[in-house]
């Protein structure tokens, strides 16, 4: 790992969400016999296929058992059908296939990337089907994975960035299921049982709660048979109830936590918007000016370029199923974190008060629309897009209409939307580092 020492100029959170399209990919969609939605985009040029099965089974479904969704997902490929973890890994890696499982606050996904040569693809599909439909949840695997998750949670406590992120979500969301970290916390993970995982799996890994996205060099008939093969054995089940509404904070709050690090990590924000929010385009385009466009945003300019206060400085909206965060962030050396936070917050306040200039908006639109083609230039990016559209129920022509909607945004709409959504007097801020106070 040290052999490849790379150090890049920019360290910014990438917005996994926002996109545009002149003419987006034609997404074909249908519903499997037991109620799962299927989304398919054929591609040409490389003999490979990406498949992603997504369940509404993210950490927001943990209830009080924080870490349940993550551990359930983590157990899937440790045993399924007649195979143990070794056999599963050998079957997949023997044909060069790549399997991935992962959890976000909103969902759990299982991904496969394979070559399309039938002799390579079929064993991979057969293995994936068993992982989805017949995971074993063996006691020994459960105990091992749980212990390793606990090791990971302990390691998190050596990272001021992680601790700041956890505190930020806690303060922003209070009792809401988005409040806790998706990997859980030590106290709750320690109490999880194998039975808890099985119950969670049976409740949420069901056809009506599933969607499947297929992107690659396979024809429609093959896509249909892949979807059927992977999901047809799942019970139909039930869609889980909607997540509770998010409560907006009533007053600003700034929390300092001590950590013996050279830098203080700073986050500041409020609950932002849902996926599909009608104000999405003014907010996305406006935030591009404010803090979303990497090396040229206002926040980057004020914090880094003018003052040299931080290596990265940014703001993003993260639209979730219900209100995801609007989040600004930076890191700076001990002794100047309050100054840096003030600069960042003032930049936000000035932006909301004055609104963007016509020139700023024009430049921002040029960047978004001119860069549209790069948002869809690989199968990896394509499947991310389509999976977002599918999971959040966005219109199938979302990518086709994206550029038009960005072009239509006016400075007034941006200012109005920011004023309506972001109250700079209600910001929730967290600072973790050696500037923090004595607790005792």
């Amino acid at each position: 790992m040290y052999a490849n020492k790379l150090t890049g100029l920019l360290f910014a959170l990438l917005a996994v969400w926002a996109f545009g399209a002149q003419a987006g990919p034609k997404i074909q969609t249908w519903t499997s016999t037991n109620g799962a939605r299927v989304y398919y985009v054929p591609t040409e040029g490389l003999p490979m296929v990406d498949i992603r099965v997504v369940f509404d089974a993210g950490s927001a479904r943990d209830g009080a058992q924080f870490g349940l969704a993550t551990l359930t997902s983590g157990l899937l490929d440790t045993g399924a059908g007649q195979w143990n973890a070794d056999a599963i890994a050998q079957r997949l890696e023997g044909v060069g296939a790549r399997l991935g499982t992962g959890v976000s606050r909103d969902n759990a996904s299982i991904s496969l990337r394979s070559l399309t040569t039938p002799k390579l693809l079929e064993p991979a599909l057969e293995t994936l089907r068993e992982i989805i439909q017949h995971p074993s949840f063996n006691e020994a695997d459960f105990e091992r994975e749980k212990k390793n998750l606990l090791v990971g949670l302990k390691q998190r406590e050596e990272s001021p960035a992680d601790l700041a992120g956890i505190a930020f979500f806690n303060n922003l969301y209070g009792e809401h299921p988005y409040a806790h970290p998706k990997e859980g916390i030590i106290e709750t993970v320690e109490k999880l049982t194998r039975q808890d995982l099985q119950t969670f799996y049976q409740r949420y890994y069901v056809a009506k709660n599933a969607l499947i996205v297929i992107v690659g060099e396979v024809d429609k008939a093959k896509a249909e048979s892949i979807a059927d093969g992977l999901l047809s054995g799942l019970p139909a089940g039930e869609v889980p109830p909607p997540l509770p509404a998010v409560t907006q904070p009533t007053a600003s709050k700034t929390e300092h936590k001590f950590f013996p690090s050279a830098q203080t990590h700073v986050y500041s924000g409020v609950p932002g918007i849902k996926a599909g929010d009608p104000d999405y385009f003014p907010l996305y385009t406006g935030n591009h000016i404010l803090g979303g466009s990497g090396l040229v945003s206002k926040i980057f300019e004020e914090v880094r370029e003018k003052r040299g206060l931080s290596y990265s400085a940014y703001s993003y909206f993260y639209p979730f199923k219900v209100e995801g965060p609007f989040m600004m962030g930076l890191q700076t050396k001990k002794g100047q974190s309050d100054e840096a936070l003030n600069v960042m917050q003032k930049t936000l306040r000035d932006f909301i008060n004055a609104g963007p200039t016509a020139k700023e908006l024009e430049d921002s639109k040029k960047n978004i629309t001119g860069g549209f083609a790069m948002r869809l230039d690989s199968n990896s990016k394509l499947i991310d897009q389509v999976a977002s559209i599918a999971f959040y129920g966005l219109p199938l022509d979302y990518l086709d209409t994206f550029i038009g909607k960005v072009e239509a945004v006016t400075p007034q709409q941006i200012q109005k939307a920011f004023k309506a959504r972001i109250d700079p007097d209600k910001l929730q801020s967290v600072l973790v580092g050696a500037d923090g106070p004595r607790e005792k």
Binding site: M1, Y2, A3, N4, K5, T7, G8, L9, G45, L46, M48, D86, A89, Q90, R91, L92, E93, G94, V95, G96, A97, R98, L115, T117, K119, L120, R144, K147, V151, K154, E157, E158, E255, H256, F258, A262, Q263, V296, E305, K306, G308, L309, Y311, T332, K334, S337, D338, D363, K366, N367, T369, G370, G371, A373, M374, S378, S429, D435, P437, K440
Partner: protein, 460 residues
């Protein structure tokens, strides 16, 4: 735990050409020495430009470590023609994304743009190749930014801190002992004059390779390169001294104490790489050895140490055969809570012993090869990574053609060759071992030199 039962069907008989032929690379050279590599990929109307310079941390000497990376930052701070920040604003207004990276063996700059905007990136890159204007006031701010970057990446990351000090112990005189970002004292004492000299030495068309991958026509790209880069004057480049590492003559150990929650163990064996290899097959055999240990969940370390013996919570292996100078074959791991770093070290060393004492099984070898074959296709999904591979191979002195040979060379590796390289290189005399010794993380205390905590009034 037995690793043997093989169920998957391994299809190594299928040559890569049946799946996807190597993409064609067109190579051009301008009169001033600039090299241009173009690879067509017509799947999307996009092109990536990368400009690679043969300079990086391994070209630096004591006292100025980090200068290549610092200069990389300053390359965004203006030329005679464009004031500071304008480079980025122009790329942004053209819908582009851009950045740069510095490694031991290269400094590279890139833009990804819609294909018709390629001239924008060529014009700007050609301009800053020879006409950088280093402004003292910009430098002063950027030095603070780089020091923040160092705190972020190294000082506050216990494992990165170990990694940095580990390299400094594993290598005695090879420049790989220095961190890319530089030692803090060196970075904070760099001057505009130092940077100016470094820029004059290394930034010239005859020290650069321009790589373009995307929806382009190679001959048109060549014409465009002639137009923008053609007029630039070449330089008399400094002679790069070899700085070959002296022979290691025994095991080396280092412990780094840092506020942390978990211990961590790293092993590094001095190994040859493709560039300068006496036996060309050896680096490929080492690459296979890395795959046998850590090529996925079925590989030995995951299967035996994480699952079977449950000594490690996580493990990893790293070997970069595209380095410019002999490098390290790295193995690292985090012990589970019930085990000590000493027990994990023993288990890792036992796995290395097995590589030396027994040939790997045909099934394992086939699995590594199947993954290499598939990855070759998967890699092509990203034009950026395609360009990275060409640029790296060219810049470390191998030539881009080596990228095409990779699958065939790996396919030719035998179990005996894996054992041979293990016996020759994965031995104690070439080994360095590093431990992260976690120190308690103090809670609720004021740091020693601290005054009254700032912003205390905001505490809830």
């Amino acid at each position: 735990m037995a690793l043997s039962r093989i169920i998957g069907c391994l299809l190594l008989a299928a040559p890569l050409s049946l799946l996807a032929a190597n993409p064609k690379v067109s190579e051009f050279k301008l009169d001033n020495g600039l090299k241009l590599l173009v690879q067509e990929d017509h799947r999307a109307p996009v092109a990536v430009t990368q400009v690679w310079y043969k300079v990086g941390a391994s070209y630096e000497h004591g006292g100025i470590t980090g200068i290549s990376h610092m200069l990389e930052h300053m390359m965004f701070k203006g030329t005679k023609k464009h004031p500071p920040g304008e480079f980025s604003r122009i790329i942004s207004a053209n819908g582009g994304s851009e950045n740069a990276f510095t490694g031991d063996d290269y400094t590279a700059y890139f833009q990804t743009l819609e294909k018709s905007r390629l001239p924008v990136s060529f014009e700007l890159e050609a301009d800053r190749m020879r006409n950088l204007k280093l402004l003292p006031e910009e430098f002063t701010k950027e030095q603070q930014v780089v020091l923040e970057e160092r705190r972020l990446r190294t000082d506050d990351q216990p494992r990165a801190k170990l990694g940095e000090q580990f390299s400094a112990v594993a290598f005695t005189n090879s420049p790989y002992r220095n961190p890319v970002i530089g030692w803090p004292d060196d970075v904070s004492r760099l001057t505009v004059g130092d940077l100016s000299e470094w820029y004059q030495h290394w930034y010239a068309p005859n020290n650069a390779t321009v790589v373009v991958v995307g929806d382009v026509n190679p001959n048109e790209v060549f014409k465009l390169a002639q137009k923008h880069f053609g007029p630039l004057k070449p330089s008399q480049l400094p002679v790069v001294k070899p700085q070959a590492e002296i022979e290691q003559v025994g095991l080396r150990r280092i412990t780094v104490k840092a506020p942390a929650k978990l211990p961590y163990v790293v092993l590094g064996y001095k190994t040859p790489v493709l560039h300068g290899a006496v036996e060309e097959w050896e680096p490929y055999a080492l690459e296979v050895a890395a795959g046998v240990l850590d090529g996925g969940n079925s590989a030995r370390l995951e299967s035996r140490l994480v699952r079977g013996q449950q000594i490690a919570a996580s493990v990893g292996t790293g070997y970069d055969l595209y380095a410019r100078m002999p490098s390290l074959f790295m193995i690292e791991g985090t012990p589970v809570q019930a085990k000590t770093p000493v027990e994990l070290e023993k288990a890792l060393l036992e796995e290395v012993r097995l590589l030396r004492d027994e040939p790997v099984t045909a099934e394992e070898l086939d699995r590594v090869k199947a993954q290499v074959l598939a990855n070759k296709v998967f890699e092509r999904d990203s034009i950026f990574n395609q360009a990275m591979q060409l640029g790296t191979a060219e810049t470390v002195g191998l030539g881009w053609q080596r990228v095409d040979e990779f699958v065939d060379k790996i396919n030719a590796v035998t179990p005996q060759q894996v054992q041979q390289v293990a016996k020759k290189y994965l031995i104690e005399d070439r080994l360095s071992i590093g431990y992260l010794d976690p120190q308690p993380i103090p809670e609720g205390q004021i740091a020693p030199e601290d005054r009254a905590p700032t912003g205390g009034a905001h505490v809830r």
